[in-house]
């Protein structure tokens, strides 16, 4: 099992969700986050006073899937999140040891 964490542009969330739904991945956890990478921050000007805003709002999604779905899922996220401009985000893939459903106690494959 793998966890995919993806940092994307907030306005691309619906597109990513739809793309994942299309390949049968129906659960996700979404967090509002702030940060910067190569895109850096942006400038805001108020009455001529310029401020560098370092951290820009992003959305982080997390999904847990079987290892053999990873490639497909990554493709779906890219398809949904890509604008081609700097700041489209990043995808991280992590191993997951165990998954347990709270309600039933089911484990791993059955719990996803």
């Amino acid at each position: 099992m793998k966890k995919i964490e993806a940092i994307i542009k907030p306005f691309k969330l619906d597109d990513v969700k739809d793309a994942l739904n299309d390949i049968g991945i129906t659960g996700m956890t979404v967090t509002d986050v702030k940060g910067y990478g190569r895109q850096k921050g942006h400038k805001e000007i108020y009455r001529g006073a310029e401020y560098e805003v370092d951290f820009i709002p992003k959305t982080k999604i997390g999904i847990i899937i079987e290892a053999d779905q990873v490639e497909e899922a990554v493709e779906a996220i890219i398809k949904g999140a890509k604008t081609g401009k700097i700041g489209d985000g990043k995808i991280f893939i992590l191993p997951v040891e165990q998954v347990i459903r709270v309600r039933t106690g089911e484990k791993d494959h059955d719990a996803i």
């Binding site: 805001e44 000007i45 108020y46 009455r47 001529g48 006073a49 401020y51």
Partner: protein
Amino acid sequence: MINSGDTTFILISAAMVLLMTPGLAFFYAGMVRHKNVLGTILQSFIMISVISFEWVYIGYTMSFGPDVGGLIGDFSMLGLAGVTSAPSETYATTIPHLVFMIYQCMFAVITPALITGAFAERMRFGPFLIFSLIWTILVYNPVCHWVWGGGWLAERGVLDFAGGLVVHLTSGAAAAAAVLVLGPRKGLGRDKFMPHSLPMTLLGTGLLWFGWFGFNAGSALAANGVAATAFVATHLAGMAGMAMWVGLEWKLYNQPTTLGAASGAIAGLATVTPAAGFISPHAAIIIGLIAGLCCFTAVTYKNKIGWDDSLDVVGIHGLGGVIGTLCLGIFASKAINPGGADGLLAGNASFLATQIFAILVVGTYAFVVSFILLKILNVCCGGLRLNSDDETVGLDQAAHSENAYNM
């Protein structure tokens, strides 16, 4: 002889001018950080209590009581003695004296509230109240008397239709003194002092613009042609100021901004105030454009020199009062208002000189008295500023134990 039309108009105008103080509160509060919102709003709101109280007992008689040596009103109307529903013999003789008194009260209320933008986010509430009360007694009331109460400046032919000198220059000069005495906010140049809610500022701008019709047109003190002249001039200068400021931003920073629109509108409205009832619609548009240009430049310059007039009271209200009073000296026309004067363009340069003289006198007086008063209070009240920790926490929590946004 009471005229019902005039009375109705001034009563409504008084209510509109009152609304400007909450409008100003929102205009300012949108520009501060989220931790100082309520503290900023209250500094304007509470003036309604403090100054209305002062006005009834001594302010009105100091400003509009029978003249003593051109300098101040006597105390014959202390506590509103003789101020009744019968008209005054001197002022606004077609409306009840009480109506004139309460209309003028609203001007006295908003003037010290204007100053609060200069020391936003760092002044202690108690010393602020004491300063505002004493300032109104020592600066607002005398200057109001000099210009509107038959004092020595009025005798010299100085004109100020609705408060370029009495309201905007006095508050702007006091703001300059406050910036010097209090010093910049903690972290100026390092921290980000970005406005926390520009929609709030724009809402305040709308309320101010609406109220300004009562402020300027109502200053005709009758529902007549002069009121119409002032109403139109007010609107046109506001729109021209907004257009100019936004246009300059678009040109220089590649993008127009909502804060620029609000700032330009207020600059135009403030600047036309002394001239509103004495000028043509075209002069009002020119005044609005000049206001947008000059105030935009002043605010930009302020950012360069690290002068923390936090919400630009000097650059917008003070400068607006000065430019408007000068422009009145240029554009005033007896053809528009026979009760006014002819300015430079009508061939009367001496009137412009009179206006310049008034600017120097009022600006200097208001600055010097404010500066000394702040210095004295700084010692007597145990400091005007919040301590460093409280400034970090913010006015809302540190001074009022409240939060504007509980989410």
